[in-house]
Amino acid sequence: MFGINQNCEIALPDTYYTLEDYQSNIPRWCPGCGDNSILTAVQRLCRDEQLAPEKTVFVSGIGCSSRLPHYMGTYGFHGLHGRALPIAEGVKIRRPDLNVFVNMGDGDCCSIGTAHWIHAVRYNMNMTVMLHDNEIYGLTKMQASPTSPQGLVTNTTPKGSYLKPIKPLSVTLGISNVSFVAQVAEWMPELMFEIIKKAYYHKGFSFIRIVQRCPHFTPHVFDDLMNPDSALLLQHEDGLSSSETMLKTYKEQEIHDPSNIDRARELADIDDVLPVGILYRNENIEVYDETRRRQRFVTHKMRKDALETQFDKFLIEPVSGGNGHA
């Protein structure tokens, strides 16, 4: 974006942030772990959109995926298992000027943090939220997750997991105030980048389920989905318009208007193919951090007056008698 077109007449900002500016520690994920591609995508987004590193915060929970902030050159908050969202909400209410991103695992978001997830959708605060869904607990070494496919053999379900998985998209689309829902797989880097970018520019809570490989524990769960024919590419002039290559690779396509929530819910419910793209978007939903926008500059005088008004309600004027007990 910036700094590319030398003939551009716009005065360029003094600082141009390169990819290295968004990199920090060397990632410690397993080789081939899908979290690496997600990291690359967000770093590229920051660079392309020239997000000031000091004005950008990545908040996460606990899990392999939640290590992501440590690898960013921005500010970060590696919080508690399940609690990334309320922490991010606190950051945003205090600092609407910051770009807030949230990274969570499927255990983080869809199990221990479920209550926060539901309510975060309802608050609809301005933030970009990535669910790294590897359908397994990675960090704690392969236990069933609420999104694990039924029958998956894990350390806690040696005979195969018992329950049907929760559907993160269906749940999200069922909550009032839902304003942006998208899905992609990390092995589709170009598409993932485009979707994260749309999510970033969406006003409100943008929720992206990113299907993420965990080659270490569940190398084959996504074998079927990785076949390009298993993807259903959602296209629309108000949604994503993909490149020629994308259109060639992903032949299953559907023109889907992201304002159509009924179709979005149907798509979210489909089991055998993976709809990728923007399922739902609505920019006209109230944003909690704007509804609750605080008056920024409170002078000492204003504070003193506010207190005095209250004190007056409960005031006792001096009275003679006794020896006084003020």
């Binding site: 004005k55 500010y75 508690l80 000027d97 605080r294 409960f314 006792i316 004027e317 003679s320 007990h325």
Partner: protein, 629 residues
């Protein structure tokens, strides 16, 4: 002045003028079914008395349920008002006079030992000829029984008189009763009218007028029909004061501190602080966020603190339990946070509306691992106002959570105190957004104090990721064994550095003697009152009140060593030394006693109970007498 309770049963003298008995103090209770407004009447009477220059302490009598069955002993709701010619610090002993809207509420207070044996009872008489024969019988039986006791019962036609003014006596009887009390205690009627105007200011003249009519009617009725009258002379007030309860004081303290994010989840008895804050906070740029649960509330507050000024979260015991993990994170990542715990009876759902001081040890130790935090406990309503101001400052300076342990006693207790004069230095300065100098680290722990300056998002050059994982000065995940040790040491040093700023608490009474009573939190007033009475009676006893529970000031051990016996008085559970099954090897001590024993190797005894009621001065007096033998 001391002619307390000397009035004869039939007070009017020959001239027909009522004799006005001058008294030093009285404890008045007013009880009704929930929703009949006894609480409002009691608060108003407290306000009128305070404005007349009396010392007061009011405390709510609260049933556990919102709509308890009517006319039930446990369902009585109302107010206790202690009024005196001196500064009053607690709810006192048994009541001298009670206004009851039905005989069951009265029995509830009588049977739980809250009334003096010869208390004056002003009782609604409409039940005497009630249409329902069961109710009629219940009432008559109760009165017959009570008349056998020394109680001085006056049956009062409250409903009948109210119906002369309003159609529904249930809404309004409270103001009629207030009028009656104003007559009994020789209050200025105009100041009572003003109190009503203030109470119903928002509702307008349509509501104010009938309430004033009721007030005047109650006043007039008492003037004509009651044969006694008291006066409690003013204690005098030299400077303007305000009279509020502890939760309102905390909310105002939050405003005064400059904190502007409060995240909470409703829980009794803490919620009213957030209610009050919600009303006024936005005027000063504040937000009260009602989160989906206490974990979220704490995490929200931590997120807000992390990104700027310190935030506050307000809760009670069960909520504190849920916030535990987040508080460990705040301690570990050195994020300032103010936590208010308005304690209630525990464990589990316990006694939701009743007083207890059972969260002290929890506050110190609930997080897993070593997570230093500062714990302070206000002792008065005035303390409740200043606590958030102080706590905010400490939290930001020492980068750690500060707990304020209030309780149900302070939450609903009202007491006047000098009107605070706002000071700019109370307010948090704007947070730093300047570039971070090269080489400065997120945890630049000072070698001596462990202190470091926070780097806040928005500061160029300061980018780092805070984490609850063990971390280095750069906030990098610790992989070497010594990094964790270093971090722990530095976080602990901060507590020690803070401790150096604390002053030794002052002993009430002689600084050596036979017995030292030690307390913390809301019991200061009652302990000191009892100790001072005992001292007047010649007992060698003093008291010590501890405001900072973690860390504790220096000098406490030396004070305790100068007494033969040290006993804590607390409102929480401990095993009684009188029960044979408990001995040195298994006896469980009250919260503060355990802490003092552990820290100071002093043989501290304890006296505590969990009746869910404020401690009465005479029970501490009895304790002093018993242990002095």
């Amino acid at each position: 002045m001391d002619k307390v309770d000397t009035l004869a049963k039939n007070a009017p003298d020959q001239t027909g003028e009522k004799k006005k008995v001058i008294i030093k103090e009285h404890i008045i209770e007013i009880v009704s079914d929930a929703g009949e407004g006894a609480q409002k009447a009691g608060q108003s009477f407290g306000g009128i008395s305070a404005k007349a220059g009396n010392g007061i302490w009011t405390v709510e009598i609260i049933p556990a349920e919102i709509q308890p069955p009517p006319r039930s002993k446990a369902g009585g709701s109302g107010n206790r008002i202690r009024v005196g010619s001196f500064y009053i610090t607690n709810a006192g002993d048994e009541a001298d006079l009670v206004v009851a809207f039905n005989e069951q509420s009265l029995l509830g207070r009588f049977e739980s030992g809250n009334l003096k044996p010869d208390a004056i009872v002003l009782l609604e008489d409409k039940w005497r000829n009630h249409a329902d024969p069961d109710i009629k019988k219940m009432y008559r039986d109760a009165i017959d029984d009570l008349k056998k006791t020394p109680l001085r019962i006056y049956e009062v036609p409250m409903e009948k008189e109210c119906l002369k003014i309003v159609q529904n006596a249930q809404r309004g009887k409270n103001m009629w009763a207030l009028g009656m009390l104003c007559s009994v205690y020789s209050r200025d009627l105009e100041s009572a009218r003003n109190e009503i105007r203030l109470t119903f200011a928002k509702k307008g003249e349509k509501v104010i007028k009938p309430n004033i009519d009721l007030l005047e009617s109650g006043f007039q009725w008492a003037e004509e029909n009651l044969d006694f009258k008291f006066e409690i002379p003013s204690a005098g007030i030299t400077k303007p004061q305000i009279v509020i309860n502890g939760n309102t004081a905390i909310a105002l303290g939050v405003v005064a501190s400059g904190m502007d994010v409060c995240a909470m989840y409703p829980i009794t008895p803490a919620t009213s602080a957030s209610h009050f804050l919600s009303e006024i906070f936005e005027n000063v740029g504040g937000v009260v966020h009602q989160a989906e649960d206490e974990i979220a509330a704490a995490a929200f507050a931590v997120g807000a603190s992390y990104a700027g000024k310190c935030a506050v979260t307000i809760t009670s015991g069960p909520g504190l339990a849920l916030k535990t993990e987040v508080l460990g994170l705040a301690s570990m990542a050195e994020i300032p946070l103010v936590l208010v715990d308005v304690q209630r009876g525990g464990p589990s759902t316990g006694l939701p509306t009743k007083v207890e001081q059972g969260d002290l040890l929890m506050s110190l130790f609930h997080t897993h691992g070593d997570a230093p935090k500062i714990v302070m406990a206000p002792a008065t309503i005035e303390d409740c106002f200043y606590a958030p101001v102080t706590a905010r400052k400490i939290a930001e300076t020492f980068r750690m959570p500060v707990y304020i342990l209030s309780d149900a006693n302070l939450a609903t207790g009202q007491q006047p105190f000098a009107k605070p004069e706002f000071k700019e230095e109370w307010v948090a300065p704007p947070f730093d957004q300047s570039p971070v100098p090269d080489g400065k680290q997120p945890y630049d722990w000072d070698e001596e104090t462990g202190l470091s300056t926070r780097i806040i998002p928005g500061q160029p050059g300061g980018m780092h990721t805070v984490t609850g994982l063990a971390h280095s000065r750069q906030s990098k995940v610790a992989y070497e064994p010594w990094t964790n040790q270093e971090g722990m040491e530095n976080r602990s040093k901060k507590l020690a550095a803070f401790q150096k700023t604390l002053q030794t608490p002052k002993v009430n009474g002689d600084d050596k003697g036979d017995i030292l009573i030690v307390g913390w939190g809301s019991t200061k007033g009652v302990i000191e009152e009892a100790v001072n009475i005992a001292r007047d009676q010649g007992y060698s006893v003093s008291s010590l009140h501890i405001k900072y529970l973690q860390p504790m000031a220096s000098g406490i051990k030396e004070i305790m060593q100068r007494f033969k016996k040290v006993i804590t008085v607390e409102i929480n559970y401990s095993d009684s030394y009188k029960d044979k099954i408990f001995d040195e090897n298994n006896r469980r001590y009250a919260n503060l006693a355990l802490l003092l024993r552990a820290r100071y190797l002093v043989d501290v005894d304890c006296w505590s109970n969990v009746y869910g009621q404020p401690i009465k001065p005479h029970s501490i007096l009895d304790l002093i007498k018993e242990r002095s033998e």
